[in-house]
């Protein structure tokens, strides 16, 4: 999988499939590779923040900046690993893990009230005051049996989020 070649060999495809635990089919991986090459304008083998932000649909999303911290400089392997959470074949646990990592920005395995407030600030911008946000989060935590000082773990996320209601799927367009 050279940085300037735009062809994936069968060997590459199989390796990539194993890497993402068989979540994507080979056709999907080929389609995603075309997309990766289209985003990586100069053929370096990784995508820069600016290149993601050149997609207007991405740039206008409130969580774009936050996600760029994870997405910046990804090579193709990392690219499909990240996107595998959005496949229909990805498990509930896999999707929740992705959501957990969006909240847990310092990667210490714990999501505190402040982490939740930060994400909520990205989402609601100036349309909610800091006090309003704090009120919502404290109320939500207390109702669910946590406190202001609680640190939620991945297990907590699995229990709290509604398995039936979680819809996080994007179809990869294959030719």
């Amino acid at each position: 999988m050279g940085n300037s070649s735009s062809m994936l060999t069968q060997y590459d495809l199989e390796e990539l499939q194993t890497h993402c635990q068989g979540i994507f089919s080979q056709r999907e991986i080929v389609a995603l590779y075309e997309r990766f090459c289209a985003l990586d304008r100069t053929g370096k083998g990784f995508i820069l923040s600016d290149e993601f932000m050149a997609v207007p649909e991405f740039a206008l999303n409130p969580l774009a900046e936050r996600l760029l911290r994870t997405l910046e400089g990804v090579n193709f392997k990392e690219f499909i690993t990240l996107l595998s959470a959005f496949s229909a074949r990805a498990s509930y646990e896999h999707k929740v893990e992705f959501i957990f990592r969006v909240y847990d920005s310092d990667r210490n395995g714990k999501v505190t009230m402040y982490d939740i407030l930060e994400v909520l600030r990205d989402l609601s911008g100036s349309f909610l005051t800091d006090d309003q946000r704090k009120q919502v989060v404290i109320q939500a935590l207390e109702e669910a049996g946590f406190s202001e000082d609680s640190a939620l773990t991945y297990q907590d996320f699995l229990e709290v989020l509604n398995k039936a209601g979680l819809k996080m799927e994007v179809e990869v367009p294959v030719d």
Binding site: V55, N61, L67, K95, V136, Q139, E143, V160, M168
Partner: protein, 399 residues
């Protein structure tokens, strides 16, 4: 981050891409408005929203709703995987032929003919055209005193030059509809695929066109030859240039002697399968708008000029080494702004007419997003929706 004065960006706010939440709401709205009481309710079971789990975790509901950012994440992932804006500028290579013993040698022969015979002949033709143009244009431009005759000759010479360009690609152009004529208070608008759109149109009628300033020999043409037919060049990233253009446009349409005005309202080259949003400038001059639809047939070559991937000269060489450039040009019925219609609505209506005639798809994006980031107002709109959702969940119990 560029901080530019964006008077013409506001229309992009009117047409944001539909969010998945909006789409979901529309889907449900459609299902629930079917009030056919004779239908078996069990038939519609799938139309109803998924039931809450039987052991409802009521206490965790608010936290669950708060932490569930999956709709927003889905939109991000969707944008990363495929987005309609990038698709507008993708050069789609033609299907590769199935090679076999018979076709491959023929193709090789074709390459030899195209590069070895056609290309040199075409270059000679074009050079001859240029020589004739230059030797006639300068004397006419600088020495002729009779104003009217000079204008006529300049116009004819420019048409001739572009005719030689078009001949140099052996263009097979089919024009449909009545030829444009110089009339007051009219503006021509067309979809844009490459700079050759201008050449294809200019060789049949001497239009006065608004163009982005280019470097090199094109820039030379733009500075010295084209202003004689009334063409206006400007730099799209300069706000004061745009202001100046707006003023010149108004002056131009008032002048009965001026050539028909041609504008490409998309503001950028698109790959001839999509059409991006039109800038409203052409539609608020108080004139009749005459739409022109241009559709290239990819059979021999893709006429899309991907300015990021190749220079205009490389693009022309590619056209000159292909068999032919085939396209259709439709001169369509002139449109006037309807009473009560805003200029943005007028632009959208004309865009739809052009898209339908050329058989291309409309997308709700501003072409200038190729050069700059979307307005923060679009992000703020999403943030407002999400904030409202939080309000609703708390049933207005917020401070």
């Amino acid at each position: 981050m560029h901080k530019l004065e964006e008077p013409t960006m506001t229309e992009s706010d009117a047409f944001p891409a539909p969010t998945s939440l909006e789409k979901e709401a529309q889907d449900y709205g459609r299902t629930f408005s079917e009030t056919d009481l004779c239908r078996d309710p069990l038939e519609d079971l799938e139309a109803y929203p998924p039931a809450e789990p039987i052991i409802a975790e009521e206490t965790k509901l608010l936290l669950s709703n708060l932490l569930d950012i999956s709709p927003v994440l889905t939109e991000v992932a969707s944008a990363i995987i495929d987005d309609s804006f990038t698709r507008c500028f993708k050069s789609n290579p033609p299907e590769r032929w199935n090679w076999n013993l018979y076709l491959f040698p023929l193709w090789c022969l074709g390459v030899v003919v195209r590069y070895g015979i056609l290309f040199p002949v075409r270059v000679l033709l074009l050079t001859a055209g240029w020589i004739v143009f230059l030797t006639c244009f300068f004397p006419v431009h600088y020495c002729m005193q009779d104003h009217k005759l000079r204008r006529k000759l300049e116009r004819d010479l420019v048409v001739f030059l572009f005719g030689s360009f078009v001949a140099s690609w052996t263009a097979v152009i089919k024009y449909h509809g009545p030829r444009p004529s110089p009339r007051q208070k009219q503006v021509f608008v067309a979809n844009h695929t490459s700079m050759i759109d201008f050449y294809v149109l200019e060789q049949s009628t001497a239009f006065a066109c608004i163009m982005q300033k280019h470097p090199g020999w094109v820039g030379w043409l733009q500075t010295y030859a084209l202003p004689s037919v009334g063409c206006i060049s400007f730099n799209r990233t300069e706000a004061k240039d745009r202001h100046y253009v707006a003023k010149r446009l108004r002056e131009h349409v008032e002048d009965p002697e001026s050539n028909p005005l041609l504008i490409f309202p998309e503001g950028t080259c698109v790959n001839n399968e999509y059409v991006v949003m039109f800038k409203k400038g052409a539609f608020e001059l108080g004139c009749t708008v005459c739409p022109i639809a241009i559709k290239y047939n990819k059979i021999f070559v893709d006429a899309f000029w991907n300015s990021r991937k190749q220079s205009f000269t490389q693009h022309l060489i590619r056209l000159m080494t292909s068999w032919a450039v085939v396209c259709d040009v439709w001169y369509m019925e002139p449109q006037n702004i309807l009473p009560g219609e805003t200029s943005i609505e007028f632009a959208e209506r004309v865009r739809k007419l052009i898209a339908d005639r050329a058989g291309i798809k409309m997308v709700p994006w501003d072409g200038y997003l190729k050069y700059q980031r979307p307005s923060p107002k679009l992000t703020e709109k999403k943030q407002q929706e999400l904030a409202n959702a939080v309000f609703r969940k708390l049933e207005g119990k917020l401070l």
